[in-house]
């Protein structure tokens, strides 16, 4: 099996899955019905991406694990998502800050992955990039609206950006697994998109009358399975039924 590709697909798929799970926690809790609808849209897109990416990962692995087996029967340390997406929702500003940073990173990455030499991955990326472009726009709109809204919303939005900024660098880090795939033309070096990321973020943050305060000690480890304390509690809830009834199908 192509171990590097398997790992890479887990990283991409787990990002989608974990963030989708966080968005599910918003159900019925949004500030307006319209926002509830749009958060569900984001969640649905991400669940769909997780299905495709983890499904493909399972095929690459060739051990008979499908997307549900991978989603529901791996422990936290086997998850490969970046730390940003597993962070708790916080208030609506934090949720939007998280979604804003992730979606811009992801849109730029998927844009490149459309040209992957792995055609299956390229196809998934082509579908996902459209969805993600919408995510990035929606989140950017909210960052601007909240940043340039009231005094309170400005403060909360700035706090949200500050809170999550330490998780940004991890998304652009490359390790041996990816290095190999980049050379093979399968994966994309996220570093090539960093400049565009910074430009996009800066532009939105400026329109929002906010500022970016870079952190000096970025947090990393998610891609290698070293997560924050939040992932295992999230998975305890998410996986409870398949873990409790391993012989059942649903």
């Amino acid at each position: 099996m192509d171990k590097a590709l398997f790992e890479y697909l887990l990283r991409l798929g787990d990002d989608s899955l974990v963030l989708a799970q966080r968005l599910c926690e918003w159900s019925s809790r949004a500030p307006t019905l319209e926002v509830d609808l749009s958060l569900s849209n984001l969640g649905l897109d991400l669940v769909g991406q997780a299905q495709l990416l983890l499904g493909y990962a399972g095929e690459v692995e060739g051990q008979g694990r499908d997307e549900d087996r991978l989603a529901y029967h791996r422990d936290a340390e086997e998850y490969r998502n970046c730390l940003l997406v597993e962070q708790p929702n916080g208030d609506f500003a934090q949720t939007m800050a998280r979604h804003f940073l992730f979606s811009i990173y992801r849109e730029l990455l998927l844009d490149e992955l459309v040209g992957s030499s792995d055609t299956r991955l390229a196809e998934i990326a082509a579908k996902a990039v459209k969805e993600t472009r919408y995510h990035a726009e929606l989140a950017s709109d909210w960052v601007i609206r909240l940043g340039d809204g009231t005094e309170e919303s400005h403060r909360r939005m700035q706090d949200g950006l500050d809170w999550f900024w330490r998780f940004v660098d991890e998304m652009f880090a490359v390790d041996e697994v990816e290095r190999v795939l980049i050379e093979r033309g399968i994966a994309v070096d996220p570093a090539v998109t960093r400049e565009a990321f910074d430009a996009r973020v800066t532009q939105v943050v400026k329109s929002a009358t906010l500022e970016v305060k870079p952190s000096t000690w970025p947090q990393t480890g998610g891609r290698q399975g070293n997560h924050t304390e939040h992932l295992s509690t999230m998975l305890a809830e998410m996986q409870v039924l398949p873990r409790r009834y391993p012989e059942a199908t649903w």
Binding site: C24, S28, L33, V35, L44, E237, M238
Partner: protein
């Protein structure tokens, strides 16, 4: 009186009344009450299902449930918009929900306790809702009727999905089968109560039927629901929790036990098992979101005046 006669004639001819048409004040009020109650039911109804969203046991079940809850939010939105055409604002309706003066379907004051409840809600609750709502596609108020057309289509999709989930559970492990039976046990009677009080306790039925706001009596619809659902339960191999349930050849209908109306009225009064939790959850979401709504409004104002100034 001439206006009233003309109005009643139009309604009797199955014409649609539109927002700018003349209508009796009682008609308007009854409609606002009924439509907002229906909208609230969609919104509150998101909660019992949302309770299992983070625990949905497969990715496709999670997607289906998320989409279903999203549809309900959408239904709430159409219905609030349709009601707004009658001169009441969404905020007013939501305030009435939160202060307890507006009602919503009693069924959502029961808890969801296992995964099969998600199936049971689709199968029974959406099933009952459809019985109530299909006739409303031809209700006399145009915006309401049109909202119902779209809603009914989605509801019947939900109902099929719910039944499919139940079918999957009964064909699963013994644990799963037990969950399905347990869900039916808990949701059967509350579903029958969804059709409202018995006809002899439903004083406005006659007028509402004349005005085509309602097209069948509560008891008729309830019977129709029982007749349609019992064979489905048999198909699932589940036992309806009613020892007196049997086919009555003579009536051409199923007989069933009398309903515990004391429970029904208690639940209507907001004393259902999780009624307080449901209202607390709705109020909390609304209160927690106040600063977001204010920010969005403030942003709009700023930039609208900027546009005007430019």
């Amino acid at each position: 009186p001439q206006q009233l006669a003309r109005f009643e004639a139009r309604v009797a001819a199955d014409d649609f009344i539109e927002p700018n048409d003349w209508m009796p004040e009682t008609y308007r009020k009854t409609l606002v009450r009924q439509m907002s109650q229906h909208a609230h039911s969609e919104i509150v109804g998101m909660l019992p299902e949302g309770n299992w969203l983070t625990r949905a046991p497969s990715l496709s079940r999670k997607a289906i449930l998320l989409a279903k809850i999203q549809d309900e939010a959408g239904h709430g939105l159409y219905l609030y918009c349709a009601a707004e055409t009658l001169g009441v604002s969404r905020e007013q309706m939501i305030d009435a929900l939160h202060d307890g003066s507006a009602k919503y379907s009693t069924i959502f004051n029961y808890p969801t306790l296992n995964w099969a409840d998600i199936g049971a809600i689709g199968w029974l609750v959406d099933g009952a809702a459809i019985m109530n709502q299909v006739p409303l596609q031809r209700t006399s108020y145009g915006p309401y009727a049109r909202a119902m057309v779209r809603i009914c289509k989605e509801e019947s999709f939900h109902q099929r999905q719910g039944f499919e989930l139940m079918m999957h559970m009964v064909n699963g492990t013994p644990d799963q089968r037990e969950m399905a039976q347990d869900a039916l046990n808990r949701f059967w009677w509350p579903s029958l109560m969804m059709f409202g009080p018995p006809d002899d306790k439903s004083p406005n039925t006659e007028r509402s039927m004349r005005w085509r706001i309602k097209r069948d009596t509560n008891d008729d619809l309830r019977q129709k629901f029982v007749d349609a659902t019992v064979p489905q339960a048999e198909l699932l191999g589940l036992t309806v929790p009613d020892p007196n349930l049997r086919w009555n050849e003579e009536r051409g209908h199923y007989d069933f036990s009398p309903i515990d109306w004391e429970e029904f009225y208690a639940v209507v009064r907001g004393e259902g098992p999780v009624a307080q939790e449901r209202m607390q959850a709705r109020r909390k979401a609304w209160d927690d979101g106040a600063w977001v709504r204010e920010a969005a409004a403030s942003y709009e104002t700023k930039h609208a005046s900027a546009r005007i100034a430019a």
